[in-house]
Symmetry: C2
Subunit: 256 residues, 2 copies
């Protein structure tokens, strides 16, 4: 099977022109097929502030009311996605920016309201693997914004880590998949203030222990949940690392 | 040769949910291959106002400084484009939203500064006809936002009427192309206050006379320039009509 690398990059990296350029250059050096999934960044919150839209977060997850949905569509599918696509083209990567509605790529359902109403947030139901495989075989580089749709005209805000995980999982049937979660830190850190304290590998048992002791917390928990989900589903390699280290072999390796 | 209909729809139609729905339903009834090109709408100007960005127009054309470029990327490639794509999916049209940077679809050069510096406005240099043809043959419906790129990482704001015309022209080699410019009026009007005064057909000579007498003015002049450009290049039929009349045969026909 062919090699496929899926890189998920966080919003902070993507919105800093210099970090973005470093990341894209590393990304362009990856051999084989590749897909980039990007998150949203601080500019959604900044823009919300300027427009008088209240930023509401519960446990690090944004509450997406109608105005916020419009905002994230503008920032994720517009500003961030198209900027990455244009920069990739300059690096001779034939990028195509997509949301879940484009080519019916990612179907989702509105997250049910239990204790919290997340608003227009979608949970992924189905990834259109044939469409992605066709694009890759035509040498396009899909650049995927964290938006999904319900097939009935409604767009949803969807977690980018989860999208990267779900795409990786369905493509294990056609490719040897490597999944790289990259962001501004060197990996999962034992001490969040010490960039030298990277945990080199982590298995489920250790993950539970790190959670219990508070070493792993907040946004890192769902990220690691996705990482373990991917590795359990047959993704060959899952790494959490710094954007500049996509190709160096540094970072935290997820072990089943 | 196969039949291809290219519809260009203006921003006012696209931003009114009801008009958009009527237009998309008509669009979905068109037989054969189809492409939608959309313009920007009043929400770019409204958003600019909210963000304290000055709207600057010269002869109906927007001056695109750096902040305005970000804004139109958000509104055109994000909000408007993805809303159309999601609505089309609900109508069982397998839409894919694209800017000129996606799949290297439309290369442009920054408009040279003569009397006026239009800023980040691009003039189309090359349309990637093979990519569009492949998408159509795979039964996708391209939904094209009025943004182009220079191949070196820079996006440009580009006139949507011109984009529709340029796409129509290059695709005459592979399809029988019909180009429909649709908007909120019934066609080119003899009297702008009388919707009954539609000019049923117009040739170049009549166009010159209408311009001289002031019947045709402002934004209608570049639109008709594009229309005559397309018909001269081998586009089989060019019509200017109301969004709801895409399939009725009403409107103004361009005659060579």
């Amino acid at each position: 099977m062919n090699q496929l690398t899926i890189v998920k990059v966080g919003g902070k990296v993507v919105e800093d022109p210099q970090s973005l350029e470093v990341m894209l250059k590393e990304f362009s050096r990856i051999a084989g097929y590749k897909i980039l999934v990007h998150g949203g960044g601080p500019s959604a919150s900044r823009l919300a502030g300027q427009l008088g839209i209240k930023n509401q977060f519960v446990e690090g997850r944004r509450i997406t009311d109608s105005e916020t949905l419009k905002l994230v569509i503008m920032v994720y599918a517009g500003l961030i996605n198209k900027n990455i696509v244009a920069r990739m083209q300059a690096l001779s990567l034939d990028a195509v920016g997509l949301t879940g509605a484009d080519m019916n790529l990612m179907l989702a359902a509105k997250r049910p309201v239990k204790d919290i109403d997340y608003g227009w947030v979608g949970d992924v139901k189905e990834i259109n693997a044939p469409v992605l495989t066709d694009l890759l075989n035509q040498n396009f580089v899909p650049v995927i914004a964290p938006l999904t749709h319900d097939g009935a005209g409604q767009l949803f805000n969807t977690n980018a880590d989860t999208i990267a995980c779900e795409i990786a999982k369905v493509l294990t049937y056609s490719f040897n998949v490597r999944l790289v979660y990259c962001f501004e830190k060197e990996g999962v850190l034992r001490d969040e203030n010490d960039e030298e304290s990277v945990i080199q590998s982590i298995n489920r048992e250790e993950f539970q222990a790190y959670k219990a002791s508070g070493v792993v917390k907040e946004g890192m928990i769902p990220k690691l949940d996705n990482a373990f989900d991917a590795i359990a589903a047959g993704v060959k390699e899952v790494i959490i690392t710094r954007a500049a280290d996509i190709n160096t072999g540094k970072g935290t390796f997820i072990v089943q």
